[in-house]
Amino acid sequence: MRVRMRLFGPFKEIAPSADEWRELREGETVAGLLALLHREAVLPEKLLLASAVAVNQEYAQPSRTLLDGDEVAILPPVSGGRR
């Protein structure tokens, strides 16, 4: 199956070519995709660990199963300003 990966900010800058359709095994989960990204080590690990995932523009839990055609965004911490 294929999902549409969306990258933003620092991730997009580091890996512009990963902002694309991507082939995944059937039944892959959000957690499984993140583990895959960790192993590939294209995106910086520290930022990846602090990231959230959105599926079809809503925050998704790690256990969420991905479906063919899903839009999957890897979101680095949003730029707050703590004070």
Binding site: L49, A54, E58, A73, P77, V78, S79, G80, G81
Partner: protein
């Protein structure tokens, strides 16, 4: 209720004036502007980028939640994208309410929650280099996977 992402400068005075209604006793405004430094490092400009479709949905949700949770009458929430110079408004929030307490509380809640959950990022251009700003850690309920 008005929620928007825009590249052109935010007309803060117009938004402030437009929201007023006869039943309001308080208008609370938060005007977030570009600071000239981060921890002493001189800032030239900021570049804001968003996951626009999701950010807009989240912002609409925040405005609706603010009205429901705090009982205020109306909320305006506008965020700017693209390149912003020092002193320009990046985010503008206006809350209209019969009483000031709810207006203050709702306004504070909207900006604090926006900064933790709405997918907008900023790259800071300093005199001596550029970095993507360290974001806020995500709240536990939307954090990704910690192996």
């Amino acid at each position: 209720m008005k929620v928007a992402l825009q590249r052109e400068p935010i007309d803060t005075a117009a938004l402030h004036a437009e929201i007023k209604a006869g039943s309001d006793g308080a208008i609370c405004v938060f005007d977030g502007i570009v600071r000239d430094n981060t921890r002493g490092r001189r800032t030239l400009h900021l570049d804001y980028e968003a996951y626009e479709e999701m950010a807009l949905t989240q912002m609409r949700d925040l405005a609706e939640q603010a009205i429901a949770r705090f009982g205020v009458r109306d909320v305006v929430l506008v965020h700017r994208l693209g390149r912003l110079l020092v002193g320009e408004t990046s985010v503008f929030i206006v809350v209209a309410s019969a009483h000031r307490g709810a207006a203050f509380d709702a306004c504070r809640w909207v900006i604090d929650t926006l900064k933790k959950t709405v997918p907008i990022w900023k790259k800071e251009q300093f005199a001596d280099g550029a970095v993507w700003a360290d974001g806020e850690p995500f709240p536990d309920d939307i954090a990704g996977v910690r192996p």
